[in-house]
Each structure stands twice: as C-alpha cells, then as structure tokens.
C-alpha cells in the first residue's frame, strides 16, 4: 500500500511556528520595526555634533570696554551680551556655559574679571578655561611652550557604535523570551498543548521547533539592525562576521531557553507576562544596552556580568566595536552557554503539558 506523503514532524512544527509568527503583524512590528526605530531615535538624539564653542555671556554695561573684543577675536568662544538676570537664567538652563564680569564696574579687563559658572558641569569648566585663556592671550600673556594639536575621532567610539550592539542584544532577549513564552503559554491556556500531548508527537520536537524558527528569524533581526546601523550611521563590524553570527546564535538560543523556562508552568498569559518582565527588567537596566554598566558600583559588576544579556552585549561589542576574535570573548560566551544549558534542562523537567 502506498503510504500518503508526510513531512517530518519537526519540519511541520517549525513551519507552523513561522507561519503563526508572520501572521501576527504586531509581533513583526515589535521584532523588526521597533528596534530600528529606537536606533534611529537614539542615534539622532545622541549624534556627533560639530565641535561646539563655549558660549560666554558678557553683562550689559561691561561691553565695549575691552571684554567682548578680546574674547571674540580668539574665535575660541561665542560671546553674547545680556543683562545680568537674563545671563543668570541662561547659565542655569545651560544656554551659556559661563558669565564673565568686570570686578570694577565701569573699569577695564586688566583690573580683574570674575567668572561665574557651574563647576560641576564639564561645559562650565571648559567654557571658563577657554574664555580665560583667550582673554589672557589677548591681553598679552605669552605662550611659553610650542603646542601642536592632533585631533582624532576613534572609529567605534561614538554612542551609536555603542548602541547598535546593545540593541541587538536587547532585541534577541525580547523576541526570544516573548516569542517563546507567549506562544507556549497561550497554547497551554487553549488546551492545545494537551491535545498535542495526546498525539505520538515527540515532545522534544515541539520544543526544538521553537528554537529552529527562532534561529531563522534571528538572522533577519540581527541583519536588519546591522544593516540599518551601517547604512544610516556608518556603524561598522570591525571584527569577524562569523564571530558575530555565532555569538548572535548563542544569544538567541540562550534567551529561547530562558523563555521556555519562564513559560514552563504558567497557565495564563497574564502570569507569564509578569514573570517575563520580572526576569527582563533588571537586564534592561543593568546589562549595558543603553549605557555602560561601569556606571554601577564596582561591587555589583560580577553580578551584572553574570547576567546573560550583559554577556551577550559584551561579546557583541567586543566583536563589532573592538574587532576582537571569538576566542577573546570566551568568558561571556561561557556565561551564555551555562544559562542556555541550565534553563533548557530545567524547562524540560518542569514543563507542564496540561
């Protein structure tokens, strides 16, 4: 008897996963469009500005007496003349970096000036130093040593260079955990898991099909962000593409495992959403996606580095920004692999089919 054709169950399950995903427009938005929009917004907000000159306020009444001209002639600072209340307000709101005032009202600069600035702001200190320097030179102070300047912009040192790998890591976490957790719990809630458990389907086929469909979409997710960063902001992958691919795949697997673990038991979507946020929120804040985790106290660093998203971000940055080879990131890779193995084994043990 000719058996009717059937495809391998793993293939059919993976196909079903993928069809379900692409037929969910909201999911497509959050996985593909949202990270790109976020990168665009942050990239524009923190773009490299042309070198900005300190903005110095000269008080009304002090102008035309040898203060504005020496300052302006240096071309090192921008000068505005304004009444004192307005100048103070401008200083407070950051519109001017420092105020310069003659010590003797109606006197001259040589008799002494006072700088008013906020010493806790780097712009304040820079404004004061630059303005003083310009003033002293204009009034005749000689330069003792000959100085030459060599300015550079380090590739990979801009905020957007830092941001793109962080967003890739964040996205791999979000889509891995939501993609798995939500679908699994929904299937349990709808008694679909129970129905599947009543078939001869191999249970690990079901769980593995999530991994496989995740890996397929992962290529697109990572590809979209890398391509966007490169085309719009000129963010380059300085290390090896293979290294980037392997680290991304490992990250995808790690978070799929974690998602499976979180989804192993809850029966309702509300409960799993709560757990997802509980697990992901610390990593959103601490794992250095948007700013370096070096800002947290040093005592916390070992804990932060043990988080899977920190490991993924560190590995991605080492490869994309620093151009390090894969073996140089063995530590974060080991951290991710440990999370992946532990969460998978635990998820398989705890998984509730009905």
């Amino acid at each position: 008897m000719a058996e009717p054709k059937r495809k391998h169950p793993l293939l059919e399950l993976t196909k079903a996963r993928m069809l379900e995903f692409v037929r969910e427009p909201e999911a497509l938005f959050w996985v593909f469009a949202f990270p790109v929009l976020l990168a665009l917004a942050l990239g524009v907000a923190f773009r490299e500005r042309p070198e900005q000159r300190p903005h110095i306020a000269v008080l009304e009444g002090d102008d035309g007496v040898g203060l504005v001209d020496p300052l302006s002639s240096s071309h090192a600072v921008d000068v505005s003349v304004m009444p004192e209340p307005e100048a103070r307000r401008a200083l407070r709101t950051g519109k001017v970096d420092a105020i310069v005032r003659l010590q003797k009202p109606g006197g001259v600069a040589k008799e002494g000036v006072t700088f008013i600035y906020d010493a806790s702001r780097p712009e304040g200190r820079a404004g004061k130093t630059t303005a003083e320097d310009a003033l002293q030179r204009a009034l005749g102070r000689p330069d003792v040593a000959a100085v030459e300047e060599e300015t550079v912009t380090q590739p990979g040192a801009r905020y957007i260079d830092f941001l793109i790998p962080g967003l890739i890591g964040l996205n791999l976490m979000g889509s891995g955990m939501w993609g798995l957790g939500f679908t699994v719990v929904q299937a349990r809630n709808r008694k679909l898991l129970k129905r599947l458990a009543a078939t001869p389907m191999k249970r690990w086929h079901y769980l593995l099909s999530f991994m496989l469909s995740r890996l397929f979409f992962l290529v697109l997710e990572v590809g979209a962000l890398v391509a966007f960063g490169w085309l719009v902001f000129g963010v380059r992958v300085t290390g090896s593409w293979l290294g980037l691919a392997l680290v991304s795949v490992l990250g995808g697997i790690t978070f799929a495992g974690l998602g499976l673990l979180v989804a192993a038991r809850p029966r309702s979507v509300e409960v799993v959403s709560g757990w997802m946020n509980f697990v992901m929120l610390p990593m959103w804040l601490m794992s250095g996606s948007f700013f370096s985790y070096e800002r947290f106290p040093a005592a916390m660093h070992p804990f932060i580095r043990a988080l899977p998203l920190t490991a993924l971000n560190d590995a991605l940055r080492a490869i994309m920004n620093d151009g390090l080879p894969l073996w140089a990131v063995w530590q974060p890779v080991a951290v991710m692999a440990a999370w992946a193995v532990v969460s998978f084994v635990a998820a398989l043990k705890l998984f509730r089919w009905q």
Partner: protein, 314 residues
C-alpha cells in the same frame, strides 16, 4: 483494520478505576469493557467523571487505582507512543492554532503519525474542503468541531475518543456531526464518546453507560435501558401548585412518579387506559395544569428514574 493478532482483546477495558483531585473524587470505581468496532457512550451530567475517564484512557492522566488497558496495552510500559499512534482524540475545549489554516492544521497533525490518510482526504471526510484555506479563527463553532474531528481522524486511528463532540453547537451543526460519525462507525472503528445529551447517545451508541458522581449507575444498549424503565409512555405534568404525590400514584396504570420542581414525571403502562383516570384525578383535585405532554421513554427518563435529577442539572 488492525494488525493486532489478538483481535479478541477488547478495544478498551478498565476495572475499579479511581481518580481523585485532592478531596474531590472524580472517578469512583468504574468498570468498562468495550469490544472492537463498537460505539460506546458515557452518558452523564457535567462533573460526573466522563472527561477524567477519557483522559485516563488516552494517557493524559494516571489513575490512582484500578486497571486500564487500551488495545490490550497499558500506559507507562514503554509503548506509550505506539499506543498514542492508534488513538484519535477530540478533547473538550481544545482550541487549535488560530493563525493556521484548516489544511495546515491537519497536515501538522498528520506529520505526527507514521500511517494515516492524506490531509486533504481528512479535510474532505469532515466536509471542510471548501474551507481548507480558511484560518481557524474564521471558522464557525461547528466547523471548528469538524476540524477537531479531522485532526482526530488523520492518523487513521483504531479507537476514536470524542469528549462532548457537539456541546455548544446549534441543532444543524450537531446533526451534521452525527451524520459524519455515523459514517465513521460503519468503517469498523471503535468509538468512545462522552455526552450529556441523551439524544446523542441514543443516536450514536450501541452501548451506553450512565455515570453519576464517578460511578456507573446503569449500562446496556439504549433500548435495554429504556425497556428497564418498564414503561410504555412517560407523562410530563407541569403544575402551578404542588399536589399530593400519593393521589397520582393511586391512578390505575401509573407505575411511578418523580417530581422535579413543578414537573411530575409519570411512568405509565398503557397510555390510553391511564390518561382518563389521571385527568379525572386532576380535575377532582382542582389542579392548575400548566402543561401536559406524553412521550416515548428516553435515556433522559432512565437517568431521572435512577437519580431523581435531570441530565443537565449537573
């Protein structure tokens, strides 16, 4: 149909089956034996233990005590997947994936079985061919239930389990499912269904076990069970004010009287001889009759006769 050499082994068998959830006893010592190729119905109100019994047979739950065999084999002895491959299952409340189409869903389930019919064939068997490209969430209740049936059939099972196959469907959709199940019965498959509709059990099952509170309280063919009532007709009398039951029992030809709220159910031997006497008594007592009807006895009457409650009372 089956390649099993021991064809005299019953399709399903259980004895002294018990299962509790905490303090709630769901199944309290059920014995069943269902021969191959027969259609069997577990009839009872909600909460009688029907679903738990089905789930133990299909290996989703383990019994606390008792024995259970499916096609001569037991669960948990290393042949679970081989056993599952021979069972087709339609569970109560299963919602299949919304975003997949009818054909994709059936094809997915087909891939789990080494033998079976073509996906298109299974879709045609439940008359959903014109809906094969429709997404599951666009189907009506009856169409979803037919899809669940296609999914249960696609592995060409020896035993088909149907847990409340028509609950919540309109009469037309129910009749359509009944017609489909009639067709499947004629192919020599064993069918095990649960229902709380007596008309469904009467229509589809060769044998019926009536369960209540986790126990079998009557078993036999629908005809045998109805005959056991020892009544040719049933009179249903709906009154405004209750009356003395002894007055009704005293009417010649009345075998028994059961009351539920304001409805008396009288089992009578000969309607033609009993009715005049009954009407005379009612007139004498000045009973305000809301309605009076008579019908052939049904499984519902058997259940009321055994428990004093209706099947849908829960």
């Amino acid at each position: 149909m089956s390649s099993d050499p021991a064809t005299n082994v019953p399709a399903l068998r259980c004895s002294q089956l018990r299962k509790s959830y905490g303090k709630v006893i769901a199944v309290d010592g059920i014995d069943l034996e269902i021969p191959r190729g027969s259609s069997f119905g577990l009839l009872g109100p909600n909460g009688a233990g029907k679903t738990t019994t089905v789930e133990m047979f299909i290996g989703l739950q383990r019994q606390d005590a008792g024995e259970l065999e499916v096609l001569g084999q037991r669960w948990g002895q290393g042949s679970d997947d081989a056993m599952r491959a021979r069972l087709g299952v339609q569970l109560q409340e299963t919602q299949l994936a919304d975003k997949l189409t009818v054909e994709e869903t059936v094809r997915l389930f087909r891939s789990f079985y080494t033998r079976g019919m073509d996906a298109a064939e299974a879709v045609a068997a439940v008359e959903l061919t014109d809906k094969r490209s429709a997404r599951v969430n666009s189907l009506s209740g009856g169409q979803k239930q037919r899809l669940a049936l296609a999914v249960a059939l696609v592995g060409d099972p020896d035993v088909l389990f149907l847990d409340e196959p028509t609950t919540g469907l309109d009469p037309q959709a129910r009749r359509m499912i009944w017609d489909l199940l009639d067709g499947m019965r004629s192919r020599g498959r064993t069918i095990f269904l649960t229902t709380h509709y007596m008309d469904e059990a009467e229509r589809l099952c060769e044998r019926v076990a009536i369960v209540d509170h986790g126990r079998v309280i009557a078993e036999g063919s629908p005809e045998e069970l109805v005959r056991s009532l020892d009544a040719d007709q049933v009179v249903e009398l709906h009154v405004r004010d209750l009356l003395d039951e002894d007055k009704l029992t005293a009417v010649p030809g009345v075998r028994s009287v059961k009351r539920r709220d304001h409805v008396y159910r009288l089992r009578v031997a000969e309607l033609a001889q009993t009715l005049p006497g009954l009407l005379a008594t009612l007139q004498e007592e000045q009973v305000d009759i809301q309605s009076l009807s008579t019908h052939e006895p049904t499984l519902e009457d058997v259940f009321v006769g055994l428990t004093g409650r209706g099947l849908r009372d829960g």
